[in-house]
């Protein structure tokens, strides 16, 4: 009986906590981004984060993109063959990869690789007093630790997405020409003719937004971690899970924004 009576209160607390978490995350992100445009700037730290984000994520993103393009070609061919519409395979591969698969899969891969690493590194710095030590050395942790990582995420993922766009389409091309009997000339002509600048723009915008989300979640959860090794582990999990969910949610929102008629 007591549990039932307390249900509205518990739900209310849950909603308030949720809204509070959104508010503090947004404030954290705005504060971090505001330091991007206010000196001093830590260029070395930005480059280190950028290289980690873009260069070292390249193999995993490339592999994901190629195999995804190959699977889409195979699946769309077997599906469209039933309706005699196999000529649309090139277009379907292109639109699936550029609009959706490249940005979303690159974002998810980077969330698992870079977002987790950011949360673990910052979380460890928090629980070993390194973040407090920064402040005692007259250095603002938001400026030194957070701003370079947010900027790196914002700028690096669009580049990765561009590479994933090309490699994903290449994967579809390989399967279509080597296995499904498409002519390479007609496949490429179809793809190029079907490509619209809006698709590429959406792909890059999604990359920028997802990159920012990955960095923000990694930084926020790591920076606010508590309670030793267990807290760092929890922060890492939260960073990956929240970034993944937000990527899928923002993917829908951006698609709706660009293509809803």
């Amino acid at each position: 009986m007591n549990a039932v009576a307390d249900l509205p209160g518990a739900l209310g607390r849950l909603v308030l906590n949720f809204l509070g978490a959104i508010g503090s995350t947004v404030l954290f992100g705005v504060s971090g981004l505001s330091h991007v445009v206010r000196p001093p700037f830590y260029g070395r730290l930005f480059w280190r984060s950028f290289i980690d984000f873009a260069y070292f994520s390249l193999p995993v993103v490339a592999m994901t993109a190629i195999f995804s393009g190959m699977v889409i070609a195979l699946q769309s061919y077997t599906g469209f063959a039933r309706y005699g519409a196999t000529s649309a395979v090139a277009n379907i591969v292109l639109i699936s990869v550029v609009r959706e698969l490249a940005p979303v899969l690159a974002g998810l891969m980077v969330a698992g690789r870079v977002g987790a690493a950011m949360a673990a590194e910052l979380g460890t710095m928090r629980v070993t007093d390194q973040i407090d030590a920064l402040r005692t050395l007259s250095t603002d942790p938001m400026k030194y630790l957070i701003a370079p990582r947010l900027l790196a995420g914002l700028l690096a993922l669009p580049l990765l997405v561009l590479v994933a766009d090309i490699l994903g389409v290449m994967g579809g091309f390989l399967v279509a020409t080597a296995k499904l009997g498409f002519s390479s000339h007609s496949y490429l002509t179809n793809s190029v003719n079907f490509l619209h600048w809006n698709d590429v723009l959406l792909s890059l915008v999604k990359g920028a937004v997802f990159g920012l989300l990955v960095s923000l979640m990694g930084c926020y959860h790591g920076f606010n971690s508590r309670g030793g090794a267990q807290g760092v582990g929890a922060a890492t999990t939260s960073a990956v899970v929240s970034a993944s969910i937000l990527i899928l949610a923002f993917d829908y929102a951006l698609t709706e924004l660009f293509f809803a008629r």
């Binding site: 070993t128 407090d132 030590a133 402040r135 030194y144």
Partner: protein, 256 residues
């Protein structure tokens, strides 16, 4: 009468229902080394973090050289706190940087030195804590606990601060290395003419480092006197603590 270097009045801090600091009053004269003792959870580290601005107190005032930090503007507050060097309990060295970059970090981050000058300055600071210049190229993970403490001390004194804080400087070290670190601390404080606050559980260390000593209990300062009197304070609580007696007026909260 001389203005205290650090004056604390009515300092209070709670975390939820847990009252950690319950009206701390403390004066520390310029050039004095104050040792703060007290049981685990008695608020010693919270006291230091409040002075450093890492934790916002609920009430009370903290003055450095007569400047009330709560009423000062941001630039004055940062300038006052910029004069504080801190040795953290576990060293808190930045593991993404090598040793010399750790030591010169504050000066380079503030733009007071470039990398070449910072490296030379770090070598000089490392020499002051008995470490060779070649240690500067190692990463903190390659150092022993004692060496990490020395590097952390070199980082704390690198900007030649007027105030030095030491959070349990000998914890985790063997007695000989503890005595070496204490000796280095005393040397550095004397050389710089700094005012120091050290918090410790180690009575031998407390007597070596401190001119004055204070004990925190239940969020308040219950005793303050010369550090020489630590082991014969005449206060039953202090005596129980400093002699490590199980029985006495202090009852540890134990779950049964």
């Amino acid at each position: 009468m001389t203005t205290p270097k650090i004056r604390i009045r009515g300092l209070k801090k709670s975390f939820g229902d847990k009252v950690v600091l319950d009206g701390i009053d403390l004066d520390i004269a310029p050039g004095t080394s104050m040792v703060v003792i007290g049981g685990s959870g008695s608020g010693k580290s919270v006291l230091l973090k409040c002075i450093l601005g890492l934790i916002e107190p609920d009430a009370g005032s903290i003055e450095i050289d007569g400047l009330d930090l709560a009423r000062a503007d941001r630039a004055e507050r940062e300038a006052a706190r910029g004069e504080i060097g801190m040795l953290f309990q576990n060293g808190a060295l930045f593991d993404s940087l090598n040793v010399w970059e750790n030591v010169a970090f504050g000066l380079m981050a503030q733009g007071r030195m470039g990398r070449a000058q910072g490296r030379a300055h770090a070598a000089s600071m490392l020499a002051q804590v008995g470490l060779a210049e070649s240690v500067g190229d190692l990463s903190p993970a390659e150092l022993s606990g004692g060496m990490q403490k020395r590097v952390a001390l070199a980082r704390a004194i690198a900007s030649q601060p007027q105030i030095l804080f030491f959070d349990e400087p000998t914890t985790g070290l063997d007695p000989i290395m503890g005595a070496v670190i204490d000796g280095l601390i005393v040397d550095c404080v004397k050389r710089l003419g700094s005012t120091a606050i050290a918090i410790t559980h180690d009575m031998a260390s407390a007597k070596r480092i401190g001119d004055q000593a204070a004990m925190l209990f239940d969020g308040r300062v219950i005793w303050q006197d010369s550090a020489d009197r630590l082991l014969e304070s005449g206060n039953p609580m202090v005596d129980q603590f400093t002699h490590g007696r199980r029985d006495g007026p202090i009852h540890m909260a134990l779950r049964k």
